[in-house]
Symmetry: C2
């Protein structure tokens, strides 16, 4: 438990893939889109000004990082969010909490307002 708070063993590969996956706007957008509910590849591609094939590749990157789960539904692929790996990234960032403590505190207050 909290193995991502403990000294880094070899979550390194995961973190590499996760952060790498997050480092492209189309991929972050795709995550935001599926956070709103499952989406087909075409739906995910629609807002972006690149080819369908390009988006397909981005989705593969997300899938490989474990952030996207894909379910075949007829000829459509339903993509849904698998956010668990994000908590690893979140956990890594939390190490640096102390360096922006005030900001984070404000965030938590804000979230509490939202969720209570």
């Amino acid at each position: 438990m909290f193995n991502w708070m403990v000294e880094h063993q070899s979550d390194d590969l995961d973190l590499d893939a996760i952060f790498q996956a997050l480092a492209h706007p189309i991929r972050r957008a795709a995550l935001e889109q599926v956070a709103d509910g499952p989406k087909s590849v075409s739906e995910l591609a629609a807002p972006h000004d690149v080819s369908l094939a390009a988006v397909s590749k981005h989705l593969r990157v997300l899938e490989d990082a474990g952030l996207l789960e894909v379910e075949q539904d007829g000829r459509v692929r339903r993509c849904h969010l698998a956010a668990a790996p994000l908590s690893e990234a979140f956990g890594w960032l939390t190490r640096y909490r102390v360096f922006w403590e005030d900001r984070l505190d404000a965030l938590e207050d804000h979230l509490e307002e939202d969720t209570t």
Copy 2:
């Protein structure tokens, strides 16, 4: 305030650079090292099995992402952590909080134990 919680305007470039910077183990290690106090380039390079020039480039990536601040001190460059941009990444990830809520709650409990 909370402009990283609001609809994305053009933090995109920042987030690209920040997540990209975090996507390499040497760079994450460097951040961990400077979190412990300022370090020279040589000190940061020491634990890693690559050339000094390679580490120098990694540090440049961190600097460009705003995660590292460098101060010239004689012939030594003192690198210290500038974690503020990490809070942007943190904030982006927080959008997905709901998808791993239980884990995050456990984390917060853990942190409270630590900091009180």
